[in-house]
């Protein structure tokens, strides 16, 4: 059996009349944007929250990152925040709001608090719930009507996906990060390559990664079309969870159970893909979906280099991004740099970016932002003096939230600005301006681009 099958069977409540499985959700994470209608639906039906002790809330999408003073300056954001506050109070749900010391992007705080753990099912009304698979959990992004079901029944109806094992072997070269692994996978298999699959990430280059880096990989599974992505838990998983606020106190007793969630050595997979880690390069997206990405040394592909099914999207991308086939991506001027998000807003990301920025200055024409993924990340980074390093270089240091990844708060691109971004999506309009343009890359590459004012190859820098 695969890890997916083991966790699935453990949480399966029943086979439903339509053939789908009813899966128990061990941890339900809730945020302000996708939940208000779900709470309204259960109230209209006179149903309680069945497992408030398995439900946790935070606010991340709409919270401003300059001032969290209430009421928020955006009345719509204030209304959403107030609705969540009312709902958690009414239903007895534990919540981590700004100022609690634990607020942050829902996929950053789940692991940080020790709520995320091996062998459990997790659901959240956010597609990046796949992140939690870094711990050997199954994380499902769901919509609002499914949130209603999980609130009311602690379960949801699901069809079991197939499993594709993605083996990343070898050792990553200098300047190549977890972000580059997952961007390579998406570029090779396509943004719809994972439809119907869960991705199991394995082998030496994955095992060598720390938990925060594994989160980056699993986070973007959904960008490859795979709703779920996971890594088998190991000693690093146990060490990460030790001492976390909600983690079991008897962690050494629990560890063997957690470590039992592994795919059996001789199990068969629906598909296996191999990637040679030694050959990977820093990746940069050039288009309007995360699959339209190339190594930084590469050139923007011509339609004739692409499969026929991808040509229309490529044409749309050339026009929106104002790029020409054959043009190198290195040297592309940027206007904005954004370091943060559930993909790359954790300590390892900020430390690595700070290492590059230290003692240097951002390019004068670039607006540069660092938005920590959580209040805990913010506090730790300040303790290490990272905020000073970034501020000295001319970056703005903001407080925790989703920020410019999806621009539901005031942080957004203006007009046709181009943003070097450590986030996960380069969709048209994603960063808040319908004409805005996004270049996805690792946080280290974003930091270097902010300094140079253009896309650079981090491998050429003496760092």
């Amino acid at each position: 059996m695969t890890l997916l099958e083991k966790v699935w069977e453990l949480h399966k409540v029943a086979t439903l009349p339509n053939g789908q499985d009813q899966l128990f959700i061990a941890l339900h994470l809730v945020h302000e944007v996708t939940s208000p209608q779900a709470f309204q639906m259960i109230e209209e039906r006179g149903l309680p929250v069945l497992f408030p002790e398995r439900t946790f809330a935070t606010s991340d999408h709409i919270v401003p990152t300059d001032s969290k003073a209430r009421p928020f300056s955006d009345p719509l954001a204030e209304e959403m925040m107030a609705a969540l506050e009312r709902n958690v109070k009414k239903h007895g749900i534990k919540a981590f709001f700004p100022g609690s010391g634990y607020q942050g992007i829902v996929h950053v705080i789940g692991p940080e608090l020790g709520l995320t753990r091996p062998g459990i099912t997790i659901a959240c009304g956010d597609s990046h719930t796949s992140s939690h698979g870094a711990f050997g959990a199954l994380g499902f992004g769901v919509g609002t009507t499914q949130i209603r079901d999980i609130l009311a029944t602690g379960t949801m109806a699901l069809s079991k996906p197939k499993v594709r094992r993605i083996e990343v072997t070898g050792i990553l070269p200098k300047g190549v990060y977890a972000k580059d692994i997952i961007m390579t996978i998406i570029a090779r298999l396509g943004v719809n390559g994972g439809l119907g699959y869960a991705y199991e990430y394995a082998e030496s280059a994955i095992q060598a990664l720390g938990m925060e880096e594994r989160l980056t990989i699993c986070n973007m599974s959904i960008e490859g079309g795979a709703r779920v992505g996971y890594v088998e838990p190991d000693e690093k998983t146990i060490q990460y969870l030790r001492g976390r606020p909600f983690a079991p106190k008897n962690i050494d007793e629990v560890a063997p159970y957690w470590l039992s969630f592994r795919s059996d050595p001789n199990t068969s997979y629906d598909d296996v893909v191999k990637i040679e880690g030694n050959t990977l390069e820093p990746m940069v997206s050039w288009g309007i979906n995360p699959g339209q990405a190339i190594p930084v040394s590469g050139r923007i592909p011509s339609p004739k280099d692409l499969p026929p099914t991808e040509r229309d999207t490529a044409e749309k991308a050339y026009s929106h991004m104002k790029v020409t086939p054959g043009e190198p991506i290195e040297g592309k001027k940027i206007d904005v740099a954004f370091i943060g998000s559930c993909t790359n807003g954790r300590m390892i990301d900020l430390r690595e970016a700070a290492r590059i920025v230290k003692g240097r200055k951002k390019a004068p024409h670039v607006r540069a932002y660092v938005v920590p993924g959580s209040e805990q990340v913010d506090a730790q980074a300040r303790k290490e003096g990272l905020d000073i390093i970034f501020r000295d270089a001319g970056f703005e240091w903001r407080s925790a939230g989703c920020s410019m990844c999806l621009a539901m708060n005031p942080d957004r691109l203006q007009g046709e600005e181009i943003c070097a971004s450590s986030s996960n999506r380069n969709f048209i309009g994603r960063q808040g301006s319908p004409k805005g343009r996004t270049l996805l890359m690792s946080p280290a590459m974003v930091a270097a681009a902010a300094l140079a004012g253009e896309v650079v190859d981090i491998r050429k820098w003496e760092i």
């Binding site: 409540v13 109806a157 999506r425």
Partner: protein, 206 residues
């Protein structure tokens, strides 16, 4: 065993109506509804914002787009490209389409979360081969008054002009529409005892 507060959803065996073509691959939910229109605590009124940034310029003036084209006014079936609805899990995307009058979507493939969200609100996501989709788009573009009938029971599609093709669908979703169990809360709560047993058997979180 029915929960006293819940009734079953309606049976959906077929969807009929005129179609609106949007034949692009990988249309993401940020395009279907930009994030700034997610800042509402109800889904009401979202229909006005479907494909907003593609339909209107910065001054709010309409741009050429199938959803602005009076030819397709009143269409109920969306003809879309592969991997439709990829990206964010926002249910606001299918909600916006439903509230703009769409009752079923035909495409070669769908992003999984989007398909689940659409099913949960009673809007079938029906798969059709790229070749058949192309024919269908030609038919509809040449004659927008073409009526389309999707039959979920027999997995077929037919047009008022007599053209037919097979369609496909996630079997669980299809059965849910045919049984009228796509509104899943009642179905799930019918197993309340098993749910509690499962909860008790699993480790608690804290």
């Amino acid at each position: 065993m029915a929960h006293p507060n819940l009734k079953n959803s309606s049976v959906i065996e077929r969807i009929t109506g005129r179609a609106i073509p949007l034949p692009e691959n990988d249309v993401d939910t940020d395009r279907i509804i930009p994030a700034r229109y997610l800042k509402f605590i109800t889904f009401e009124g979202l229909g006005a914002y479907a494909f907003y940034d593609e339909r209107f310029d910065e001054q709010g003036k309409p741009k050429p787009h199938p959803f602005n084209d009076p030819t397709y006014l009143g269409a109920t079936i969306l003809l879309a490209g592969a991997n439709f609805g990829c990206g964010s899990s926002r249910e606001h995307a299918p909600q916006a389409l439903y509230r703009a009058g769409i009752r079923a979507i035909l495409a070669p493939s769908f992003a999984e979360i989007f398909a689940g969200n659409s099913t949960a609100i009673g809007m079938p996501t029906v798969m059709v081969s790229p070749l058949h989709l192309e024919t269908l788009i030609t038919l509809v573009t040449q004659n927008p008054s073409t009526d389309i009938r999707i039959d979920l029971k027999y997995k077929t599609l037919s047009t008022s002009s007599g053209w037919t093709c097979p369609v496909d669908m996630n079997e669980g979703y299809r059965k849910a529409f045919l049984e009228g169990s796509w509104d899943t809360t009642a179905v799930l709560l019918a197993n309340l005892d098993s749910i509690h047993k499962k909860a008790a058997a699993l480790p608690s979180l804290w």
